[in-house]
Amino acid sequence: MVGPGLGPALENANPLVFRRSGERPVTAREEDDDLPDAIDDREIFDLIRSINDPEHPLTLEELNVVEQVRVKVNDAESTVAVEFTPTIPHCSMATLIGLSIKVKLIRSLPERFKVDVHITPGTHISEHAVNKQLADKERVAAALENSHLLEVVNQCLSARS
């Protein structure tokens, strides 16, 4: 796993900032006690869009690292697939960002879901290595045993004040 903050200088000091989508409006159906609401793409996207970037005071949504079109969920089959796009192809934070997304989804989704987080094909130089790390359950668990790494992930997942 690549540790965060290895170099003092930011790799991408001046990123393009995207607009945040607003809160999802509550529909009458959602307020009806009896009707069930399926878990949909937007719901998953809402879980991960507010994750903080490890090096900018911005969210992954504002940096366009995650987009709703790159989120796929199948409630019936209990699968979630999220693609994320690092801001630059040699971004050393890619693994950390992927880990944050994965941890957030594991903490926020029912246990029945199989969570798959990977890099949008063709957007990072070491795409396969990162994807492999993220898919390996034991390596993810081991990473979270590392208190330094856990601290950084938790910072990404803390509510922005």
């Binding site: 959602e30 609401d37 903490r107």
Partner: protein, 877 residues
């Protein structure tokens, strides 16, 4: 210096020189604050400075700009800002310093340091207040160059604003100069140089520097009327010409069109800025010759903006029009007519709601200045539209009604619009179908808005009252007096919804009446309801007589109209005497206890309560209340009308609690006793909410009710112990009522009071969480959630109970309870962490289940709560 001023002054310049020597080289910020104060006094109190002006300046100005950061843990609390302000007071204390200070300021403005720039510009503004043109003259070109550079290149909005302020101050200072025939006019020269440097930026096609230039010009122009004339006279024609050079979007390619329209919008916004400036110094100085000269082109530019397809351009155009219209004597009749036609078109036919809203607002602002044009053109067009209106055009119909209300901001317009709306109401009622309730509701909203707008103009208010109240009553009566009233056409008016929406109209039309008219009106209304005297109503030939207080099945429809009487009579000021008050109160009392229809009974009870609340203290009031008690006791005990009796009890109790009447505690006891009643208990518990909540239609300050301060706190201290006692003594199947009542009381109490009372109530609240009633659970959770956030220490010892109860409520069948419970679990994380860690694993495990809740809103709360519990005690939180 405070006590020996004379003696010190007699020392002459020796004292000044001595002080300079003492102060020189001082470093301690505490001493500096005192020293600056002394220098200021030396200057302002007229000590002899003699040849030492420059020395005195040097010894203080060497500290400028202040660069001081208070050390951490500074016991003296001197801030950088304190030093800056006191030094500035010294530097800007006398024009004698000008020749030394101004070069220093220019030097600092040209420095790299943001804070130095800011300080220099602010000091310049302060100096301009006391300097004359003589001091400034030599430095004007360099000052202008520095200010201009800062505004053109600035990165900081604050610095830009300060520079613009300084420019205004400079120009204002120059404007104050007395003009001599032979001297060179400094102001004109200065403004000309400003114009020379900014004007050409306004014409450049890339428009990069237009905004900074426009801001500079506007800042200079806002200094004085003379400056305004000078600048506006040159800039306005230029802008108008520029606007016309960016041609209408239609004959360009589709790519260029939006670009052009945005450029024209920029130009229009700059124009707007210049036009708004004269408002700063009022109209009395008012020769708007500059504006008169360009009236024609201005009007045509506004016209073209208003007919442009771009919505943004339209909206800016409407704002320009609003400013032009409020400048007196600028627009001539034909311009106005055209303007009103444009507004009418935007209101009725523009698809975008933004422009039509802007047009309505503009109409409301302009109407008082030009009532004639609006009544002749807009009101007429809207009225026509209402009549020819077809069923399928719902939005246009609504717009018509909204616009009629919006434009009614002048008595003469109110005179025109009210009859239009009332006629429309009659038409609606005549052809009323079930689907018309929406139209009726929007009509009532418009009428209500007009009532509120005309409240503060006595003439409109009395006209409105005289026209609307009898008409509404007449229509309602007509509907109610038909045979089989509840089935006949026109019954739409009698539906609870329609009658309820008339209440705010009548109420708003009656709260601000002049005393004479109020008395007059009351003298008509009371006989109408008591004796069926319909003579003052329009079209008063009814098939049968109006007797709302009589017995009889066929009178059910008539009784509903009591709510209209309530709307009127409960809104009158307290000093208006009610004719036949005694008899009216008796009839209301009887109706409220004995009527089968809950709607009419409640209306009568509210009306009775409203009158009792305002009734002057004395034997008469005691008698009325005794009467009420006599009715209430048997009514509550048994019989078919127990619910009605409870309603009356609640409303009368509220009326008395609000005014701190001694009888209120007796009545409150009755309500509390009813909590133990198996049949009425739940309603009585809800009633506690009614007692402490705000009623929308009666018994609030807006309708002149007698409402004492802090009555809620008083109610709380008086009654909560009894509630708690009652709860412990009560039988198990009515315990829930007490909890529900308690949670209502707590919900209406200000949170700070609640926090102090918490320790005594907490056991009860925890018990309430186990209560099976969903309502009690919900209101208890909502009560506890803010407490968890605000008083975590008090709740901390109960962590175990709270965790257990909250977690069990996440299983509730009611979505709202699950959500509230999850919010409480989230709020628990604000308790001290060490006490929570033992529960962390358990909570996280338990919250896995609501993550899979069938409702999305529940899942959302579960995610937030669980995420927060994960972070608890973990690094990086």
């Amino acid at each position: 210096m405070r006590t020996r001023e004379e003696e010190l002054k007699s020392l002459g310049t020796d004292f000044t020189f001595g002080f300079i020597q003492v102060m020189d080289g001082e470093k301690d910020p505490r001493n500096l604050l005192v020293a600056f104060q002394i220098v200021r006094d030396l200057v302002l109190k007229g000590y002899a400075l003699g040849p030492f002006v420059e020395e005195l300046f040097e010894v203080t100005s060497c500290y400028f700009p202040i660069d001081f950061t208070p050390p951490p843990n500074d016991p003296h609390g001197i801030q950088r800002e304190d030093l800056i302000v006191s030094l500035r007071a010294v530097l800007a204390s006398t024009p004698q310093f000008a020749e030394f200070l101004l070069p220093l300021l220019i030097e600092k403005m040209d420095s790299e340091l943001q804070s130095a720039k800011l300080d220099a510009v602010q000091t310049l503004s302060a100096c301009c207040a006391i300097y004359g043109p003589k001091e400034l003259q030599a430095f004007l070109p360099s000052l202008w160059a520095s200010l201009r550079r800062e505004v053109f290149q600035t990165a900081s909005e604050k610095l830009e604003a300060e520079c613009l302020g300084a420019l205004t101050a400079l120009a204002a200072c120059l404007s104050h100069a007395v003009l001599h025939a032979d001297t060179h006019d400094l102001l004109d020269a200065f403004l000309s140089s400003v114009l020379k440097d900014c004007r050409h930026h306004l014409c450049e096609p890339d428009m990069k520097l237009v905004w900074p230039s426009a801001k500079l010009l506007q800042a200079a122009a806002s200094a004085s009327l003379r400056a305004y004339h000078h600048i506006a006279g040159s800039v306005l024609p230029l802008l108008l010409e520029q606007y016309n050079q960016h041609p209408q979007g239609c004959n360009l390619g589709p790519v260029l069109a939006p670009l052009q329209s945005s450029q024209r919008r920029t130009i229009l916004e700059m124009l707007l800025g210049f036009l708004e400036l004269p408002q700063k110094w009022g109209h009395e100085e008012g020769d708007e010759t500059v504006l008169l000269d360009v009236r024609g082109p201005l009007c045509s530019v506004v016209s073209s903006a208003l007919t442009d397809p771009s919505v943004q351009l339209q909206v800016v155009g409407v704002r320009v029009l609003t400013v032009l219209g409020t400048l007196p004597g600028l627009l001539v009749a034909s311009d106005l007519d055209l303007a009103v036609d444009h507004l009418t078109r935007l209101v009725l036919h523009e698809e975008d709601p933004q422009s039509s809203m802007a047009a309505m607002e503009a109409s409301g602002t302009l109407a008082p200045a030009h009532p004639g044009a609006f009544t002749d053109r807009m009101v007429r067009a809207l009225a026509q539209e209402l009549q020819t209106e077809r069923a399928d055009e719902g939005t246009r119909h609504q717009r018509c009604l909204q616009a009629l209300a919006a434009v009614s901001t002048h008595p003469s317009i109110v005179r025109e619009t009210v009859p239009v709306l009332l006629q429309h109401l009659r038409d609606l009622q005549r052809g009323s179908e079930p689907g018309d309730t929406g139209k009726m509701a929007s009509l009532c909203r418009s009428l209500h808005r007009m009532a509120v707008q005309s409240q503060h103009d006595p003439e409109s208010c009395s006209f409105y009252h005289r026209a609307v109240v009898p008409c509404l009553l007449g229509l309602a009566l007509q509907a109610a007096l038909q045979e089989d009233a509840l089935l006949a056409p026109g019954k739409a008016l009698l539906e609870e919804e329609a009658l309820t929406s008339m209440v705010p109209i009548i109420s708003a039309a009656s709260t601000h009446l002049s005393p004479e008219l109020a008395v007059q009106s009351a003298a008509l209304m009371v006989p109408l309801f008591l004796d069926g005297d319909v003579s003052f109503l329009p079209q008063n030939s009814f098939p049968c007589s109006f007797q709302p207080f009589q017995d009889g099945l066929c009178l059910a429809a008539q009784r509903r109209l009591v709510i209209l009487l309530m709307a009127f009579i409960c809104s009158l000021p307290r000093n208006v005497p009610i004719p036949q008050q005694d008899r009216l109160l008796r009839e209301l009392l009887a109706l409220s206890c004995a009527c089968d229809c809950p709607f009419a009974a409640t209306a009568a009870a509210k009306c009775f309560a409203g009158l009792v609340n305002k009734h002057p203290e004395g034997a008469q009031l005691d008698e009325v209340l005794q009467l009420a008690l006599n009715r209430l006791e048997p009514g509550l005990a048994e019989g078919p009308h127990r619910t009605q009796a409870l309603g009356l009890l609640l409303w009368v109790t509220k009326a008395l609690v609000l005014r701190y009447h001694p009888l209120s505690s007796h009545l409150t006891d009755k309500v509390l006793a009813l909590l133990g009643d198996t049949e009425l208990g739940p309603a009585a518990a809800e009633g506690l909410g009614l007692l402490l909540g705000d009623a929308p239609d009666v018994l609030h300050r807006g309708c002149h009710a007698d409402v004492r301060l802090m009555y809620r706190q008083r109610f709380f201290t008086d009654n909560v112990p009894r509630l708690v006692q009652g709860f412990h003594a009560a039988h198990s199947d009515v315990k829930a009522n007490y909890l529900k009542g308690l949670s209502h009381v707590l919900n209406h109490l200000p949170k700070p009071v609640l926090v102090t009372e918490l320790p005594t109530l907490l056991p009860l609240l925890l018990e309430a969480l186990s209560c099976l009633d969903g309502g009690v659970q919900l209101s208890t959770l909502r009560c506890l959630q803010p407490l968890l956030l605000e008083a975590p220490r008090a709740l901390s010892p109960h962590g175990d109970t709270l965790v257990t109860k909250f977690l069990s409520l996440t299983d509730s069948p009611t979505m709202a309870v699950r959500i509230a419970a999850l919010r409480c679990i989230h709020a628990l994380t604000s308790l001290p962490t060490p006490g929570l860690l033992p529960y962390k694993a358990r909570v996280i495990r338990a919250l896995a289940k609501p993550l899979d809740d069938k409702k999305r809103l529940v899942r959302k709360e579960a995610v937030v709560a669980r995420g927060e519990w994960f972070l608890l005690g973990s690094p990086g939180r």
